[in-house]
């Protein structure tokens, strides 16, 4: 038997912190029990202690904007972006601006889609890419989709460029990296809306603001991936560059960046997916396009029509994801000697020829140029019919579920969470932190939630916490069994992973469509959307964790005569737990984002306040709320990663 079989997981976590953790827990409970006799200051933070962070931030922003004249810089940048948006707008959907030659006929774009898909990966991707454009045109959504794409086309290159430059800076200087890292951590856990408010302050509303918020939102993953890629370039490749007499710049330009190609392109993929997610949400700040349509239709409960738009957004997400991933993984290949120019550049030529062909045809047959609303198909009627049918069919269940959830789960837990004195909650978190990572973790938990208490948004924050908690627990109840079931055979797990990966590319907004359809606009719908969104990473990482368990361990268990269930409980699950924890972490992050997004269908948490801050363009309030959400996420992130790290150490995995 190999070495590995000797390391069967034992239940041996000797947290020597446990005693402290228990005492803090007892303290927390006693505070809660004696709530009645304690002074009010123990139950809620006295108003006098609330720190007006928002005023400070507002003052800082006013200073930046007016006194430092940053507004001129941002205006100038915004004007440039707007000019570019006008160009792409004209080309893609015929906006009446320079160069006034658009719109490009839909058949031209669709045919280029076919060719690009084929060149990147073959027939399937070709059909998917081209087919998506055909679907968009035929369903009469061309203009909206092009409004959305025209922003991505402008925003993504800016993000990629900024991200690459900042990645290089962080790579060159440890000091820049040390500053950049925590900023990126916070930036990646700030909810979407927190980005919008400052942009509205500096730029206003509309497509230009939408584009800029998209650029800012999608930079962080590019920075991280560039940094990672540059770090991963093999030492010998760099040394060979030195020995070839490359200067520093030549080394960066010709050796490091090209060798980091794959990671950089994965960054490009993430940028584009983030762009799509943001551009859809930017409808809240007046960005026209698919997102705005979807928002309007959802608000007026037009399920069929919103489902059509939803399908388009999903298709676009999948196409963009697959195409960029195919590009990232595509390895260079040579042509045989003497291959003629036409063959070497066949895709370019086919693309040009078909574009010209359809351009000409479009002049003759207007239907190939544009499909008007009247000629467009719609499947909203059948979707509505099916939806109605389903709703009527399962109405008793949804009614019951809604009643059960609201009266027996949501309201009691909510009341309970709100009833708890804040000191109790802080002590509880400290106890949890101590149990997991000792003093350091306890201090981190206290700091994050202490700041939330000090911000004066405690009650709202608790509502967010409770929604996320309930949702993650429900998601876990669905996700774990699904994941375990999915992990049993390799075929099943690869299919399940494919589905999860695809679902993860969808912009979060999409998840609202089915729940609004089933539950209407209320608390349950919010929880439903969050559960849907949060279950995906849980399933994914459960499968991944279970599949990663080394074969030798499982064989050893089989040889010891364990049944499949015993193997699962005593070998597979314990070994997979650290990976599953990554899923829990991601699931919580996703839940936080989703709760905030779902605010517009009616919640009373931080999200609702954030919407208010957005409509009154209150930067200070918006950022404080956003940071409160980010802190919750960062705390969970800290706890789960610390826990997983210790667990891995205990299991001898690292």
């Amino acid at each position: 038997m190999s070495e590995q079989t000797l390391q069967l997981p034992k239940h041996q976590p000797v947290w020597n912190h446990q005693r402290t953790a228990w005492s803090i827990l007892i303290f927390a409970i006693s505070i809660a029990l004696f709530k009645g006799v304690l002074p009010a200051g123990f139950v809620r933070l006295p108003d006098g202690l609330v720190i007006p962070f928002a005023d400070g931030i507002n003052a800082a922003f006013a200073f930046l904007r007016d006194d430092l004249g940053l507004i001129h810089v941002t205006r100038a940048f915004a004007d440039m972006v707007e000019w570019l948006l006008n160009v792409t707008g004209n080309l893609l959907y015929g906006k009446n601006r320079w160069p006034r030659i658009g719109p490009i006929p839909w058949t031209v774009i669709a045919s280029i889609g076919f060719v690009v898909g084929y060149a990147l990966q073959g027939w399937r991707l070709s059909l998917l890419t081209g087919g998506t454009f055909v679907w968009i045109a035929v369903m009469g959504q061309w203009k909206w989709a092009m409004e959305t794409l025209s922003v991505i086309v402008v925003a993504a290159p800016f993000s990629i460029l900024f991200g690459l430059v900042m990645g290089v800076l962080a790579w060159k200087s440890r000091r820049v990296e040390a500053v950049m890292n925590p900023v990126l951590n916070i930036a990646q856990s700030l909810p979407h809306f927190a980005y919008m408010i400052p942009v509205v302050v500096f730029i206003g509303v509309g497509p230009k603001a939408g584009a800029i918020v998209t650029i800012i939102f999608s930079v962080p993953p590019m920075i991280r991936m560039s940094l990672l890629g540059l770090r991963k370039v093999p030492e010998e490749v760099i040394e060979s560059g030195h020995m070839c007499g490359a200067t520093r710049w030549q080394l960066l330009r010709h050796v490091r960046i090209p060798t980091a190609r794959t990671e950089i392109l994965v960054g490009v993929n993430q940028v584009i997916m983030q762009c799509l997610a943001m551009v859809v949400l930017a409808s809240f700040i007046g960005m026209p396009g698919l997102g705005q349509k979807l928002l309007q239709l959802l608000q007026s409960l037009k399920i069929g029509r919103s489902a059509e738009i939803g399908i388009t957004i999903v298709l676009l997400a999948v196409v963009l994801d697959r195409c960029t991933k195919a590009w990232a993984t595509k390895q260079p290949a040579h042509f045989e000697k003497g291959t003629p120019y036409v063959v070497r550049n066949k895709f370019l030529l086919i693309g040009v020829v078909s574009a010209v062909l359809f351009l000409a045809l479009a002049q003759v047959f207007p239907i190939l140029d544009q499909i008007g609303r009247r000629q467009a198909f719609t499947i909203s009627k059948p979707i509505d019919a099916i939806a109605d049918w389903i709703i009527v069919l399962i109405d008793p269940i949804t009614q019951w579920l809604r009643w059960f959830l609201i009266t027996w789960v949501l309201i009691p837990i909510r009341d309970g969470v709100l009833w708890l004195p804040y000191i109790s909650v802080l002590a509880l978190l400290a106890a949890l932190g101590w149990a997991i990572g000792g003093l350091r973790s306890a201090a981190i938990c206290l700091a994050f939630f202490g700041l939330i208490a000090l911000s004066g948004w405690w009650d709202r924050a608790m509502i967010t916490v409770y929604t996320v908690m309930v949702s993650v627990v429900i998601a876990a109840c669905i996700g774990f069994p699904l994941g375990i079931w999915g992990s049993f055979t390799p075929r099943r797990s690869s299919a399940a992973l494919l589905i999860c990966d695809t679902l993860q590319t969808f912009p979060s907004f999409i998840y609202l469509i089915p729940v609004v359809m089933l539950f209407g606009v209320n608390d349950v719908a919010v929880v439903g959307a969050v559960v849907l969104f949060a279950a995906v990473p849980l399933v994914r990482y459960t499968i991944e964790g279970l599949r990663q368990v080394p074969e030798t361990l499982i064989e050893a268990a089989d040889m010891s005569g364990a049944t499949q269930m015993q193997t699962l409980w005593h070998v597979r699950l314990p070994m997979a737990l650290p990976t599953i924890m990554v899923g829990v972490n991601q699931s919580t992050m996703f839940s936080l984002f989703m709760v905030i997004i779902a605010a517009f269908i009616g919640t009373q948490d931080l999200g609702q306040e954030m919407q208010r801050a957005l409509s009154s363009t209150d930067v200070g309030k918006g950022l404080v709320l956003g940071l409160a959400v980010a802190f919750m996420g960062l705390m969970v992130d800290h706890l789960t990663t610390t826990w997983a790290h210790r667990k891995k150490q205990a299991l001898g995995l690292i």
Binding site: E236, V237, S240, H242, M243, C244, A246, H254
Partner: protein, 343 residues
């Protein structure tokens, strides 16, 4: 500069890895052991190495993995800045060169081949080989022409347009060799160039390498951890252990007179007769006299074995190149080497 002065000359070269190792090195005196230095939080990769490499010589550096071979060769090209001592290349102290001078030195004088090839994955064979020429700013046409020449030289014609990942390991290393030769360097560093290859291919590549060296006659520093490879190629071998050069001498001297116990253990398995040539054992003519047909001094004892056993003379004349008798071989000495002396 005279013809006999060394191309590369190292004096007391030290390389320590660790924080503030320069100031730590100043505090050292005497001959601290590897462990003592490690206890102080530094890793001694190269310790007090002094050696000269002559024009056209092939120096093979040998040692177990972790003995500091790679680090040492990187000190010679200043891919790594040394902690103490000095390295002179053609008389110039490379530690004091500016970045620009260093780049120029590498662009015109040095080539290096790496164990895992170090090829640029996004460039074709041709573009990889033309890379050092491009860095010098040569025009595209000249780069291409020269690259094609070297491709021909290493036997990769017809594969110019392949990408590294489309080639076998041996072919990739041919690209690495071709790239290092493109600028016609005077000094050629090879860091375990064939270690990543299968034994059969390794043999083939060694032959290829000897063929190239016969044509080009460069000054070479060759690293290997394979003694057979070292014996096949070397003019001189330097054996390293824990960063120290234990012995630097010709292969025959190393097997006949190991300087330290470590070297003796290292060479114990080697069949000496395959390494030692007749002329190495020969004494000057003045010490004894011999008659009869002379033997060829450049032959190894092993290849003379049959003759040595059958011959009845006690002393044999040894002829150098051209047939002039240059020494006298005691047959008993030769038989001792062949059969192992009684101890």
């Amino acid at each position: 500069m005279s013809a006999s002065s060394p191309v590369i000359s190292c004096r007391n070269v030290w390389k320590l890895f660790g924080a503030n190792s320069k100031s730590y090195l100043k505090t050292l005196s005497g001959n601290p052991s590897f462990e003592e230095i490690r206890a102080a939080g530094h890793i001694a990769a190269v310790r007090d190495v002094s050696l000269d490499i002559a024009q056209g010589e092939m120096l093979v550096i040998m040692g177990l993995s972790g003995s500091g071979k790679s680090t040492f060769v990187r000190c010679l090209s200043r891919l790594i800045d040394i902690t103490g001592g000095e390295v002179r290349v053609e008389g110039q102290n490379i530690g004091q060169m500016s970045e620009k001078e260093l780049i120029n030195l590498r662009r015109n004088k040095m080539g290096m081949v790496f164990q895992s090839f170090g090829l640029l994955p996004h460039r074709t064979v041709l573009d990889n080989i033309a890379f050092p020429l491009e860095m010098r700013g040569q025009d595209k046409h000249a780069c291409r022409a020269r690259a094609l020449e070297v491709i021909e030289l290493v036997g990769l014609s017809g594969r110019e347009d392949y990408f590294p990942r489309e080639l076998s390991g041996g072919q990739q290393q041919r690209v690495g060799i071709a790239r290092s030769l493109a600028i016609e360097p005077d000094i050629w560093f090879l860091d375990e160039p064939f270690s990543a290859l299968d034994p059969l291919i390794r043999r083939e590549m060694q032959d290829e390498f000897l063929r190239l060296q016969a044509i080009l006659g460069k000054t070479i520093v060759f690293i290997t951890h394979d003694f057979d490879e070292a014996l096949r190629l070397a003019d001189r071998i330097a054996i390293m252990k824990d960063g120290v050069v234990e012995q630097c001498d010709t292969p025959a001297q190393i097997v006949l007179n190991p300087a330290t116990e470590y070297v003796a253990k290292f060479t114990a398995e080697i069949e000496k007769s395959r390494v030692v040539q007749a002329q190495v054992l020969a004494k000057p003519i003045t010490e004894a006299s011999a008659e009869g047909r002379p033997i060829d001094g450049s032959q190894t004892i092993h290849s003379l074995a049959r003759m040595l056993v059958n011959d009845t003379r006690d002393f044999l004349p040894v002829a150098a190149q051209g047939g002039v008798v240059s020494g006298i071989l005691n047959r008993q000495d030769a038989l001792d080497v062949l059969l192992g002396a009684d101890t």
